[in-house]
Structure formats: C-alpha cells, structure tokens
C-alpha cells in the first residue's frame, strides 16, 4: 500500500473532508503503551496521534460514511483506553488496536440492528454511483469510493479480508457467519468493485 499519491488525492476530495499525514512516532511504542496502561493520559494521547490515521482509515472503510467513521474512531480509542490493561504485549500493538476497532464496529453493528444497505461516504451520493468517472482514475480514490458504495456485508468482508488480511474462518467467527458465506460476500464485493471501476 502507498501513503502518498492515493492518500493525497483522497484528502483533496472536498466531499470526504479528510486529510492524510504520516504517523509521527515520537518515542518507543512499548514505553508509551506501558505508561498508558498505568493511566498516563499524555502517553495515551501520543499513542492516539501515532495511530489515528490508520485507525480512521479502517473506520472509514468499515462504516462507509465520513461522519460515522469519525464517531467510530472516537469510540475505538475510548475502548482502547478501557481495554489497555488487558494488553500484555504478546501480539503487536497495532494488530491488537485494529482488532479492537473491528470489535467496536461489529458490536455497534449488532446493537444498531441495521439491515444491510448501501451507504456513501459523501454528501453527494450521486457522484459515487459511477466512481470510474472520477478525475483521477489511476489512483486509489476511485477504489475508496467504490468500497464505500458496496452493500454493508460485502464491504465488511472485503475490508477485513483484502485490506486487513484476516482469513475467512476468523472473519466468520468475528461476524457470526459461516466461512462459505464470508467467501460468497468477498466474491460479491470484488465483482461489484470491478464493475464499478470499469465503468
């Protein structure tokens, strides 16, 4: 994955109201984690600033809506603060953080009881119905828009599998669906994305 070109184009899209920057690790992550676990809010803020971009990118793709992604990102970091004492460092902090983000999203998804529906990451949904007509067809921007336009179930599996690298068995356990259903949703997502990108 690249940070620069696709991210810059994505940030330049006014309707999406996002900006991109690199994470700025200021001190050893393990030290920050340990201090945050002990209740040091300044250390936790440093962790937040170092990981905000990646967490928000995940939340944006999971939710498909800019405003919902902002709220989800906040909820994720609040949950991270609550759950930090249980983190013992056996896995990478980033992996654990992403797992927290996924679990917060999945918990809210179950709680909200929403039916699968199409959602758009912009106030101008008509502009996303043909993502391939974007001014910058060679960047990741079109793909971001196309992902946002996927049905929720397909988008969730696509983000977890193709973007985050989870396996179908794990996805099935986390979402509460059979492994084959996860594969079917991934097929649906990829096909719809290819169609959207080739228009």
């Amino acid at each position: 994955m690249e940070v620069s070109t696709a991210a810059a184009d994505f940030a330049a899209r006014p309707a999406l109201q996002v900006r991109v920057r690199r994470a700025m690790p200021t001190r050893p992550m393990t030290e920050l984690v340990e201090r945050a676990q002990a209740g040091d809010e300044a250390a936790f803020e440093a962790l937040y600033r170092a990981h905000l971009g990646r967490v928000h990118a995940l939340c944006l793709r999971l939710s498909g809506e800019a405003q919902a992604a902002t709220e989800l990102t906040q909820d994720v970091f609040v949950r991270v603060w609550q759950a930090l004492p249980s983190f013992r460092g056996e896995s990478a902090f980033t992996s654990w953080l992403h797992r927290v983000a996924l679990n917060v999203f999945l918990g809210q998804r179950r709680a909200s009881g929403r039916r699968e529906r199409r959602v758009f990451a912009t106030d101008e949904p008509a502009g996303l119905e043909r993502p391939g007509e974007s001014d910058s067809p060679e960047t990741g921007l079109d793909l971001e828009q196309a992902i946002a336009g996927l049905p929720e179930g397909a988008r969730l599996v696509f983000v977890m599998h193709d973007v985050e690298g989870y396996q179908h068995g794990e996805i099935g356990r986390m979402i509460g669906i059979a492994e084959g259903t996860s594969k079917a949703q991934l097929f649906r997502a990829r096909r719809l994305l290819r169609e959207a990108l080739s228009r």
Binding site: V3, E41, A83, L186
Partner: protein, 212 residues
C-alpha cells in the same frame, strides 16, 4: 442447489437479485463445496489496486478533546475475575451443543431463509437490547482472551476456538431462523441464549488464562 446451479447464479447473487431463500441455498451449498469456493476465488481474484489504498487517512477535526473527555480513570470499569477450573470449559461446550440442537430443531420445522449476518430486525425491543448487551460483553471478553492467548497451550487454544466456532455457528443458525420467521418469540430467546452461552464461555476461557 447443485454446483452448476450455483455457478449459473453468480451474477444474480453478486447483484443481490436472488430471493432470500435462494441466496441462503447458494451460501449453504458454498459452505460445503470446496470446488465452488475455489471457483469463486478464481472468478474474482483479489484486485491489484487494493495495494494502492492509503494506509492512513486522518479525520479533519481533532478528535482528541472529545476522546479525552470520555476517558475514565483507570480501574473505573474493571470487572471481577472468576477463577474457573478447566472442566467447566467442557461443560460449557455441552450447553452450547444443546443450544445448537435447539436451533436445528426449529429450523427443521420450516425454511430458514435470510441473511445470518444481518440484524435481528424482528427481535422485540427487550431481545434486541439483551443482544446488544451480550454482543458488547462478548467483544470485550474476546479482546481480553486475544491478548492472553499466547499464554495458553496450543491444545487449549484449539479447544477454545473449536467451541467458539460451535457457538458462532449456533448463533448464526438461530439468527437465520429468526430472519425466516420474524416475531417468533422462542427463536428470539434462542438468539439471546446463544449470546449468553458465548459470553459465558468467553468469561470462563478468559478466567482460565488468569490461573496460569
């Protein structure tokens, strides 16, 4: 549904143009057919452009003030830990199988269409509320268990994962049944019962890690 029938319906499935029961049969066949799974993977391989996605996208507003205002002092939400012997894991598995069997019984009485990953839209307000609470608790416990899994023996981890898969299967089954029979109070109770089993099992598994 046969392999040929599934492959003839790929486009319709992708476009969500199948009826709920037909989509359910599509997924059921796929769950048991490795050849069709491979066929789907070959038909739609990973998009190369996925690599171009930005790793980081920062939100326009600074979210920290809002987050900081919600941080409770450490220990404010801590839970009591339960020390439970390993044999209770086996007992929990037995209960889980019982729940799964109950759902299967209901499914056998009628068609269980619908999207098992979807919401329990028909659940009563109380059932939906309970489900949300259990889902939240399960998410928290799963996190704690994930953080501690490397301290467990591989065989124990395998047992836990196997039982969780049974629970999740029962949960998906009960939710599918409820989607096909909206308003069925017994099925609503089974959904809640499956969640209760999941939370109970996760709590016991997490407690097991604290004994080590």
């Amino acid at each position: 549904m046969t392999c040929a029938e599934l492959r003839a319906r790929l486009d319709a499935y992708a476009r969500d143009a199948l009826s709920r029961s037909e989509a359910s049969r599509f997924e059921e066949h796929l769950n048991g057919c490795a050849e069709c799974q491979a066929f789907l993977e070959a038909a739609e391989p990973r998009l190369a452009r996925t690599e171009s996605l930005a790793r980081q996208i920062e939100p326009a507003p600074d979210l920290w003030p809002g987050i900081r205002s919600r941080l409770l002092p450490r220990g404010a939400g801590s839970r009591r830990r339960f020390l439970v012997p390993a044999w209770m894991l086996a007992a929990a598995a037995v209960l889980i199988v019982a729940v799964s069997s109950g759902v299967t019984f209901f499914l056998s009485r009628g068609e269980g269409g619908g999207d098992p990953s979807g919401p329990v839209a028909s659940a009563s307000g109380r059932a939906a509320e309970l489900e949300a609470q259990y889902a939240s608790a399960a998410a928290d416990l799963a996190l704690a268990l994930e953080a501690a899994r490397t301290r467990l023996a591989p065989a124990t981890v395998a047992t836990i994962e196997r039982n969780l898969a049974v629970i999740d299967s029962a949960l998906a089954e009960s939710r599918r049944a409820l989607a096909g029979d909206p308003g069925n109070a017994t099925l609503e109770q089974l959904v809640v019962a499956a969640w209760r089993q999941k939370v109970g099992f996760l709590r016991r598994a997490t407690a097991l890690t604290t004994e080590l």
